[in-house]
Symmetry: C2
Subunit: 216 residues, 2 copies
């Protein structure tokens, strides 16, 4: 289907439909891409006819499921009012920690797996949806923080996109690809916190302004 991919969804969804999509999501996490319409219907205690009436076909159900999950992680925009270095550091660490938790979660792994698989034979735009609500959403939320840090004199960069991508790399490293490829990689709360702190310190070492906020 041609995939409008963003608008409209998650509104105009009845509670029952949300429940069905939740069931599909759970099944997706358990079974991967080889979930059948019958299994979804059985799990959701609904009829296949209803599935087809609501979502068109299998791809429609999949994209609806992915969008439904995406709509659930709408986050509050960070208000950048406090400008001291400690709060900037804490904010960056928070982003890093949240991101590591997200990409380590079962549902994220499952969703990324199916999206990657579908990106190969481009029938739908699952990849675009996941990308839009994952990596690009993160960039949209983080960049204002980076800009605020720059304005406050704590950060020094010319291109926010480049700075963001560096931060992204320092945080994620090889975690996501290893998890997607099936590597066990225990991610304890403490380890994630440590990695987030390390990534933040490294980022500050690279992009921290030489002169403090009172400089220049």
């Amino acid at each position: 289907m041609q995939a409008n991919a963003d608008i409209d969804t998650s509104a105009t969804l009845t509670e029952r439909q949300k429940a069905v999509l939740d069931a599909a999501l759970r099944l997706l996490v358990e079974e991967g891409d080889n979930l059948t319409m019958t299994a979804v219907a059985r799990r959701a205690s609904c009829s296949k006819e209803t599935l087809y009436k609501w979502f068109g076909d299998r791809d429609g159900l999949l994209t609806a499921t992915v969008q439904w999950q995406a709509s659930k992680v709408r986050v509050v925009p960070v208000d950048g009012e406090k400008l001291d270095l400690a709060s900037l550091t804490a904010s960056l660490e928070g982003f890093a920690s949240d991101w590591l938790k997200v990409i380590s979660s079962d549902t994220s792994i499952a969703l990324n797996r199916v999206a990657v698989g579908h990106a190969g034979s481009g029938k739908d735009d699952l990849g675009a949806i996941v990308l839009e609500n994952g990596r690009f959403a993160l960039a949209r939320r983080l960049k204002p923080v980076l800009e605020a840090g720059k304005q406050a004199g704590f950060l020094d960069f010319t291109d926010a996109e480049t700075a963001f991508r560096t931060f992204f790399g320092l945080v994620a490293r090889d975690v996501q690809i290893r998890l997607l490829l099936g590597d066990r990689l225990e991610s304890t709360e403490a380890a994630i916190g440590g990695d987030a702190a390390r990534a933040t310190q490294q980022f500050l070492a690279l992009y921290g302004a030489k002169t403090g906020p009172q400089g220049l």
Copy 2:
């Protein structure tokens, strides 16, 4: 998963079999995971019966194809005899550039896609094979260089694995996941070179020894 994944294959392969696997590989790049045995047979101008006799079943063909591709990128180990900073930098840049070229290549993307897809429903160990010949092989090749740099006094780190993962993150950033998810992301030769240089400089900024080789 322990995944022997390396031994035995690529030996005991007749030229004809290699040609068949090349055909399968090409088809995998074009079609993704939804390639059929019939299509492979047609492309390779062989019979399905031959495919089954040689490779057992579809999964066998797939793993043989992945291993065949992996066996083709056996690289020469770097001899770390020259110890000046320029050669270390050049070596790191070379690794970064090579790695970016690899993960941007069509065949790598296709192989990772199918491996990620199969990692979901763990029938075979495609994920382990790809991981073993990709990210872990890179680590094995790079770590001696890092250790040599440390011995020579140019680098300062306690854990080579951690240092490697940082370098990995600085080089790859969001490139691989974006490509896997279908994001267009033109990778010109020049851009890759620039990114490799930037990642190397950032890595040296983080892990370069404060004191030079003559220090302490």
